[in-house]
Amino acid sequence: MQIYGLGLLAFCMIVGSTIGVLLGKLAGVQGDVGGVGIAMFLFIFILQYMEKKKKPLSEEASKGISFLNAIYIPVVVAMSANQNVVSALSGGAVAILAGVISVVGGLLFIPLLTKLEKKISKGGDDQ
């Protein structure tokens, strides 16, 4: 049944968020530290475990997850319609420069780090 897919995902999200908040408390940070990331790991782990046990997720349940995949971009569009764009623009030059430069500058790091990653994995392969 399609809802099983939604239910599995919901389970992962709730467990992940709980662990995230606990981690936050341990680290003295209010809120959720990586809860979504933890939920994703849990989800992937459960799916791979089920594959190993030759009991993969049913086609119906997968359709439920596909539904969420399909509304992901619509959700992102709705999310952008929620942003406080007025504040962003009124922050003036400081906000705009800080925001834009940190993005453009940051993006330039990516090819550098990709090269570094290739070196790291090549080093591992040589052993």
């Binding site: 619509p74 959700v75 709705a78 400081v94 906000a95 990516i110 780090l113």
Partner: protein, 251 residues
Amino acid sequence: MTILYDILVKNGLIGAFLFVAVVMFVSDRFAKLIKQERMSSAIAIVLGLVAAYIGGIYTGGKNGLSDVAIFSGIGLLGGSMLRDYTIISTAFGVKMENLKKAGIIGVISLFIGVFFAFIVGAVIAYIFGYRDAAEVTTIGAGAVTFIVGPVTATALGVSSDVAALSIAAGVVKSVACMIVTPLIAKKIKLDNPTAAMIYGGIMGTTSGTAGGLAATDPKLVPYGAMVATFYTGLGSLLCPSVCYFLVKLIL
């Protein structure tokens, strides 16, 4: 007319689906018209931002279009609950091998990302005349993400207009990330899971990376999102402590 108004207000979420469907349809048609079909998501996201601006001007509120009564459902459809739920679902096709390959570099990217963004924000604050260590740190924290900014502001006790400035910087970063990413993705080879994880670590804004990757290649979203979700936590830890300490030393 008031009947329609009441129905829209009472059925907010449904109205939000209609709104987003229309926006995406318009974006899709426009993208096909200008022969840039792949940009349709990016265009939709920009239209969403424009709608947010209009909503913000019209209501004077903080939540973009969802402050307008007939569009309140957008607050739910675009809120963190559904955003997180759908982001997690994108992990459906993820392979563990891709994750393991990029594990270390993901962590390295996280630290580089947080420190780089902080330094950019702090330096710009300094250039614009801010000299108080707590204020410079807060603005730097805003360049990390729009959550780390106010968290740091509270931790260091700065005034609310500096806190608001840090949020503004963070929102600009998020918006810029969404818009710029699909435009230069090819040039920086953002086309594989490892690069997406590095990207998530460097940019870190969950909404920014979600939007940016969605508009570039939706298959990359889970890889970027997975690393990005740790960014705000790391930033919240480092900015009010290590970063503040370093700024005090220098100033």
